[in-house]
């Protein structure tokens, strides 16, 4: 349900642009955030807010891969498979996660907890291989650090991971922000510890290949 409160926020976003149509992307982020994915209702709400036709909005939704029209797991894991990450072993990470989570890339686990996706370059090539969990970056990932992360997500229940990752998503401008989890977060500590331990070895490994 797109409630009155969301409608108000949509109007508010629209009011900040000289041309209403320019507000399409932030509006879509907002309705996606509200409902977890972009529903037909969300499309119509956005179309109305920006004075476009629903088909035009649909076209944009399908164009950008950060919008989804399918319900997804509570944790969406995106593994970058573009060139830098590819050279640095993302295939192994992805294969490992597929096996660990029991799903293929593009699928959602039957308990609705995890969605695993391959992503195009996440603009973190300097610390490849990179992946994102609900918009949060994890870099220099290895199969081990990926395991640690999944362990954490499973043991902490989804909520801890979700809230930490979910809250800052809207920065008040309706934009998704991406930032590293802060160091106080146990998951990050765990992952980063694993990172440090592995980095050198892995870099060497990559070169050897």
């Amino acid at each position: 349900m797109i409630g009155e409160e969301v409608q108000v926020r949509l109007r508010e976003i629209v009011s900040r642009y000289p041309s209403a149509r320019s507000a399409m992307l932030p509006c879509l982020h907002l309705v996606q955030e509200e409902q977890g994915y972009i529903t037909p209702e969300g499309i119509i709400a956005v179309a109305e807010a920006i004075g476009a036709k629903p088909d035009e909005v649909e076209s944009v939704v399908t164009f950008y891969s950060m919008y989804t029209e399918e319900p997804k797991g509570r944790c969406v894991i995106k593994v970058c498979t573009s060139i830098a990450c590819y050279l640095r072993g993302c295939d192994d990470v992805l294969a490992h996660l597929e096996q660990r989570l029991g799903i293929r890339k593009g699928e959602t686990s039957s308990d609705g907890r995890f969605t695993l996706e391959a992503a195009e370059c996440l603009a973190a090539c300097g610390m490849a291989p990179a992946m994102q969990v609900n918009g949060r970056f994890f870099e220099n990932v290895t199969t081990e650090s990926a395991d640690t992360l999944v362990d954490y997500l499973v043991s902490a229940g989804d909520t801890a991971a979700l809230t930490s990752a979910w809250q800052p998503v809207s920065d008040g401008r309706g934009m998704a922000t991406v930032s590293r989890l802060d160091a106080a977060n146990p998951a990050v500590e765990a992952v980063e510890a694993a990172d440090t331990a592995d980095t050198t070895a892995q870099q060497n490994g990559a070169h050897e290949r």
Partner: protein, 776 residues
Amino acid sequence: MGEQQELVTITIDGREVSVPPGTLLWEAARQLDIEIPIYCYHPKMDPLGACRMCFVEVKGMPKPMTACTTTVTPNMVVSTDSPMVKKSRRGTLEFLLINHPLDCPICDKGGECDLQDFTLRHGPGGTRFDLYKRHYVKPIAVSDRVLLDRERCIACQRCVRFCQDVAMENGLVMMERGFKTEVGVEEDAPFDSIFSGNVVEMCPVGALTAKSYRFVTRPWELKRTASVCGQCSVGCNVLVDVRVNKVLRQYSRTNDSIDEGFLCDRGRWNTELVNSPQRLRTPLIRRNGALEPATWEEALQLVAQRLRAVASTHGASAIGGIGSTHTTNEEAYLFQKLLRAGLGTNNVDHFHGRFPAMERNGLPWVWTDSIAGLEKASHIVLLGTDTYNRQPIVDLRIRRAIRKGTRVYVVTPEPSRLDRLAAGTIRYNEGQTGAVSRALLSAVLSEPLTRGDFATKRAASVAALRDSLAHTNTEALAAFAGADATALRALAREIAQADGAVLLYDEMATRESTGETLAQDVLQLALLTDNFGRPGAGTGPLMEDNNSLGARDMGLLPDQLPGYRMLADGAALAQAWGMTLPDTAGMDYDAMLAGGVRALYVMGADPARHATPEQLAQLEALDLLVVQELFLTETAKRATVVLPAVAYMEKDGTFTNTERAVQVVRRAMQELPGARADWQILIGVANALGLGWRYGSPLEVLAEIGRLVPLYAGISRRGLGAEGVRWPFSAGESDATGKPTLVGSPHLTWTMVEHGVTGNGDGAEPALPRAHGEQG
């Protein structure tokens, strides 16, 4: 047209061409007959530069340029066949073909496909791609009538841009991106637009096809005829494609002043009219209460004999004729001639809006501006119209105007598809278009908002008009009509301040209970606010059928002769026809149906369909009912004699559209065996009556019209050319091509108004246009 412009001269392939600044290279090359292959570019849409097919080499530029987005600059040197160009064309085509299924043998587009043709002319001989091609389920229906083969799509986005930018309706959009890009429809926004067929015509490949044409024929088997659509009063130019006497499809034959190369789905696909198996194939005669097949000879003799019988027992005034708004001008002309000169009665009419005869000989109530003029208007006010359904391509032109910034007001009882794009909408109760229009006029008079010379010169008449409307002020009329008075007043103010407003009403709205003064009120509204006599300003009715205006022009009226000549001025016509003409006005449509006549001759009309029970009873009680028709209509079922006629694709002639354009209709196929064109039937009846008519073809009738009918004086088929001519043309004068010269500009001017419409008095204050017998 317009002011002189400095031309820019450029060289293409060693040849010079001079074109206006801003011209695209593609267009400049076309003027030299140099083909630059295009996919995404479409002359009626903004350039996009998406397909990269149109590469040319421009001297001084390091890389190939797209001819569809590059405009000319002085002294540019362009090559369309340099090695660089050839290589880039080959490259583009090689890419396009990577995923193309090459199912040409079963593709409806095969034989007229730009991908086939350009590959042949400019493409690589082979491919370096030997992997698997992308495959999709095919075809998928994107609407009830249009199918999509995604594999064949080259992502040129013509269809998408048509839906979004031209039709501005829900429809096709691009989905996904990269190699996954495909055309699609959003579920909640179905592609049900009346303009949908245009995407099939525009698609350069076989990705979008018409359901009705799928696997039906190969294009080279079609016989193509240039003609005019006969399904509404717009008169779009079409190419009728026929195979073995069946209309298989129709494409647009671009006429920029009317359709800009678009057709509506009704015009494009409604071929039932001619292809239907229900068509009448033999004359029918009522014997012992039942209609039975008869020969043409029997039927024509019977009609003549029974007409003579009625005339001798009850007099000529007991015979009446109801003509058609669908048949050609030539047929309408012959019909009234048969009634007037042959049978001696002015009882002739057709089903039409309420347009009282003007006080003196004058112009009728016509659209004073043009379809193309809509784009120049600052305001368009639609009164009681439904352009989307009734005059779709006018609706499309209104959409183009909206895109250019025109403010459109939709003043109608029902919501319309234009509402979403309109500057404002005003709703009122069904049947109150007249009251609403008078409320606007009343607001203009009372505030007062009148402006311009026309009103100033007629100050006294305007004051008198104001007084006569004083008791019906805007608020009272708005309340009566159930409309918002404040909104109406605001609209009246906008009209009075507009750079140019076009005020259009639906012909049939004049038939509503308050419609009696509608035509006159709206005309006065336009005149008194100076919205007249220039492109982008004016007023008039949007007519109902393809030849509604032609029917009036040709004198299917009880009180006016062809060309709106008054009965009293009929001497010249009588002399030319060699007959005396009845000089009293005849019965109109309603009077004839109210039992006024004993014999009724109906050509191409179906009065029973709109008839009241009393009128139906009268129809059944007639001594003689003759019906010329394609189908066994409700009226035909009650006829004494039914004469099978043919559709507009099966005959030659002319139609006059809602903006006064007279256009040539051409026979695209053989007549249905057993049926005859209405003009042939009329000649048959006339000769059975012993009138000795000798017309060999509609051309000869047109020549007579050109001699005898004011407004059509000097008309000839050659002069009408491919795109028709809008009346008034000047009598007898024509240019080198035989095209009659227009009187002044193609929009009717004040001078026309003062001399024609208003019947300017001698020296006295000129009068306001008034209907014959109207008070005030």
